[in-house]
Structures are given as C-alpha cells and as structure tokens.
C-alpha cells in the first residue's frame, strides 16, 4: 500500500493539478474558446443519458473492429509467408517500405469518389491504415533471422513444422506484435479519418457536429472520451507487445 501510494501519488497529483488548471483556464476565457472541466463533465453526462453517445460509440467500435480484424487476417499470414519465402520477401520488401511510409490519408479522396459513402469504404480506410505496420514489422523480424539458423535446422533435417516452431515464430512474432501495437494506434486514426472525411458517423460525427454547432463543451467532451479510449487501446497494445517481447533474443 505504502509503495503504491509512493509510486502513484505524483501521477495523481499531476492529473489533479492539470484538471484544476483546465478548470481555471476554462472559467477565465470565453465559452466559445474553452470550457471548464466541470462543464465538460456535465455535457458528457447529458450525451450519455440521451443515448446519443452509446449509439455513436458502438458505431465507431464496429468500424474499428471490422477494419482492424481484417488487417490482422490479411497481414499476419501474408507477413509469415513473406518471412518464409525469401524470394517473395526480397521482391516485395521495398514496396512494403514505401507503402508503410506513405500517408494513407492521401488515398481517402480516391476511396470516396470510387466507393461512395457506405460502410465498406470506411472499413477499407481502417484496413489500409493498419495492415502495413503488421506486414512491415513481420518482414523486419524475418530479416533478423540469421540465415545460419535456418541452414543448421535444415542440415539437421528438421521438419517444416519444427522449423516454424523453433526458428521462424520465436523470431518473427515479437516483431509482428510491435506491428500490432502500431496498427492499433493507426486504426484509431483511420477510424476517425473515415468518419470525418467519408460519411459522418460515430464518434467522429459526435465531435464534428458539436464543432459545427459551436458547442465547445461537446467538442471537449468528445475529445476527452476519444482520448481515454486511445490511452486504453495504447496500453493494451503495449501489453500485447511486452508479452511477446520475452521471446526476443
């Protein structure tokens, strides 16, 4: 208990100071610019009790999960295939790096004009945002395998299955999980981007609507909630990554 207090007291103190500063800043500026923390909470409670918030949240969650799971279903097996088949990996590597470094937001206008406003184009946006980190990091992991290891395994006539279990997976999975962590963050950005720039739905619509009505309290309430979701998902990603990092040599 004592160590818990000692370790976490500074964090809580810093959060409370921040909230107090927010409250003071909000009270001393115009309401169009900033609203105090207390008013943000009141507005958030209104949004929740009116049921608006829950519906939009579920809408966003559905989009996030569909796009992200698709990215995993495509990215993970493809990444492992590239890890195993050297010629494929060498061939695709540079293009993967280019796609990983390209700002995918730039493709949104094309997706809009080709696919319109439905659910599918938004899923595609989330998918494109999150699939390349998984692929890129898995390939990076495959590159970290020393060719000697595979040669030794082969000269001892190890089967394909034990080659995977003893060499391929321990080397590539930790990298892939780094990719999964990055993909979680990018999928969240993709989700909001899709909701902003394709058709306005979900949490993105909540915040855009509030901004168009000059409802500053609504804007702050939405940012607060999305921020907390972001922090929660980032933590989850770090947990997943650390869990597999133990395998890393």
């Amino acid at each position: 208990m004592q160590t818990y207090i000692r370790r976490h007291a500074p964090v809580w103190l810093s959060v409370l100071t921040g909230l107090a500063l927010w409250e003071i800043a909000g009270r001393s500026t115009s309401a169009a610019f900033m609203v105090p923390f207390s008013e943000t909470l009141v507005r958030l409670w209104q949004l929740i009790t009116r049921g608006e918030f829950i519906a939009q949240f579920l809408d966003s969650a559905q989009l996030f999960l569909t796009g992200f799971v698709l990215a995993l279903i495509v990215g993970a097996p493809l990444g492992l295939l590239l890890a195993r088949v050297r010629v494929l990996r060498i061939g695709i590597e540079p293009y993967l790096m280019i796609l990983y470094a390209t700002p995918m937001v730039a493709l949104i206008p094309f997706i809009l004009s080709l696919m319109g406003f439905g659910f599918a184009p938004k899923v595609l946006v989330v998918f494109l945002f999150s699939v390349f980190p998984v692929l890129y990091n898995t390939v990076e992991g495959a590159r970290s395998i020393k060719p000697e290891l595979i040669e030794v395994a082969k000269s001892y006539r190890s089967s394909e299955w034990s080659l995977w279990r003893e060499v391929m997976l321990p080397y590539t999975l930790p990298y892939m999980m780094t990719g999964v962590r990055q993909a979680i963050g990018r999928a969240l950005v993709g989700m909001i981007a899709a909701e902003f720039f394709l058709s306005a739905t979900g949490l993105g619509q909540l915040i855009m609507g509030a901004s168009q009505d000059f409802d500053t309290a609504g804007v702050f309430a939405s940012i607060l909630v999305i921020g907390l979701i972001g922090i929660g998902l980032t933590r989850l990603g770090l947990k997943i990554e650390q869990h597999f990092a133990r395998w890393r040599q």
Partner: protein, 273 residues
C-alpha cells in the same frame, strides 16, 4: 553469380560481395514492381471507369502536373508549413524532452500528459483547432505541431535518461554548470534518440498537414489531391500522392543516412523505440 554462396560466414564482407548481393536482389524486386504495375493497369482497364488513375495515364500526367503553377504553389504551401511546424517541434520538443529526462520533478509533472496526448488520434483536435484558429494556415501549423511534438519529446526524454553516468560524473568533476551539461553532454548523447523521434515526427507532420488541408479546405498538396479527385482528375491527384509517398520515404532515407554519417558510434542494435 555462381561463386557467391549467400549466407555462409566464410565469405568476407567485400564491396564485390555487396554488388553481387544487390544484383541478386534486383531481379525479384524489378519483377515484383512490374507485376504490381501490370496488375493495377489491367484491373483498372477491365473494371473501372476511364477517369480512374492507372500507371500509364499517371505517368503521362506527371509532366503536366509538375509544370502547373497551381500545383507548385500547393506543394510550396504544404512544404513551408511542414518545415515551419517541424522546426518549432524540434526545438520545443527537444527542450521539453531534455528537461523531462534530466529532472525527475518535471518528468513526474508532465509525463502523464505527454503519454496521454501521444495516444490521442491526432486528427480529433481538428474541430477544436478550427474553432480556435479559424479555417487558416495557423490551424494547419498547430495540427502539424500537435501531431509531431510528442514523438520527439518522448524519444529525447528516453535518450536523456540513457546518458551513461560516467559522462556526467566526469563533467561534474570538471565543475561544469547544469546548462552546459545539458547542451554539451546530454544533448549530443541523446542524438540517436532525437533522430529516431524525428523519423516518427516527420511522417506524422506530413499526415497532419494533409489532414488539416482536407478538413480546413486551405491550399496545399492535400487540398490539391482532394480537389482534383472530386473533379474526376484522378491522374493529376495521384501525382500528388506519389509526391507525398516520396517525402515519406525521403524522410526515412534521410534519417538512416544521418545516423550513419554523423553518429557512426551509435550501433543500431541498441536502437530507440
């Protein structure tokens, strides 16, 4: 080709071997690139309307686009904003990061916020920034800074904490002041972390600029892409995307080159996040 047996440790690491390896890599890469372009061309010709971008028409659009004054103006506006935003980000982010890394009090005070803001999907601040700064270039700069600064701060803070204790002890026994210690020892020792942070920050700054232009409808490369794709000039718009991709890759290459050129003492296997 026959005398290079790839992967055996007995072969010395000579330039000739590198050339041979590169030649071995070239063919699969070239063929993959060709397959991608060909597949794209055929797919678009088979099922998509004529205005959709495909390799042959995009290539034909390149000379037209890069001599178009409207395009050059848009490009200049975006690059100037990214450069300005990144300059502010590097100075402010490094200063905050150094303080966090070397002072436990500062670290405890603001780490929770740096981590929190870093986890925020950056584009959600756009509606707020448009309320604060209006639909203007200032909102774009603010978005770029917000998108990029936390990556730099977190990396520099980690780097400042990882400075070997002996360096600091030596400087202390030579009675150097706290500020000199920060600028002459902690900052240079954190350079690899700063560069790793810059790599992340530059990519995010680019995304921030494009997203801000979409949202705020202010002139720049992002808006050029949006406007042209809306008016069915997909080929022209795609040249803009190619340029963005080139900048994204260019930043990666620049950082890798700088690490090798200026920080040869830094070994990559102990790299930062």
């Amino acid at each position: 080709m026959a005398e290079t047996t790839i992967g055996s440790a007995a072969i010395p690491d000579t330039p000739a071997r590198h050339v041979a390896l590169m030649a071995g890599n070239f063919m699969p890469r070239f063929l993959t690139g060709l397959a991608i372009l060909l597949g794209w061309e055929i797919l678009v010709r088979a099922i998509a309307p004529a205005y959709v971008a495909k390799p042959t028409t995009v290539v034909l659009a390149i000379p037209r686009v890069i001599t178009d004054p409207a395009f050059l103006q848009a490009l200049g506006a975006t690059l100037a904003a990214v450069a300005e935003g990144l300059a502010i980000t590097i100075v402010a982010g490094t200063a905050i990061g150094l303080l966090m890394g070397r002072s436990n009090a500062v670290d405890r005070m603001i780490r929770v916020y740096i981590n929190g803001f870093n986890a925020l999907p950056m584009i959600i601040v756009l509606p707020l920034f448009s309320l604060w700064f209006g639909y203007s270039g200032a909102a774009r700069i603010a978005t770029i800074i917000f998108a990029a600064i936390f990556a730099i701060t977190m990396n520099v803070a980690d780097g400042a904490r990882a400075v070997p204790r002996e360096y600091l002890e030596v400087s202390r026994s030579f009675r150097s002041g706290r500020l000199r210690m920060l600028t002459d020892i902690v900052l240079p020792a954190s350079m690899p972390y700063l560069l790793a942070g810059f790599r992340l920050a530059a990519g995010r700054a680019l995304i921030g600029a494009v997203v801000a232009e979409f949202f705020l409808s202010i002139g720049g490369l992002g808006y050029y892409i949006l406007y042209n794709s809306r008016s069915y000039h997909h080929n022209e718009a795609f040249v803009g995307v190619l340029l963005l991709a080139a900048f994204g890759v260019g930043f990666e290459v620049l950082v890798q080159w700088m690490t090798r050129r200026f920080l040869p003492w830094y070994r990559r296997d102990e790299k930062a996040g």
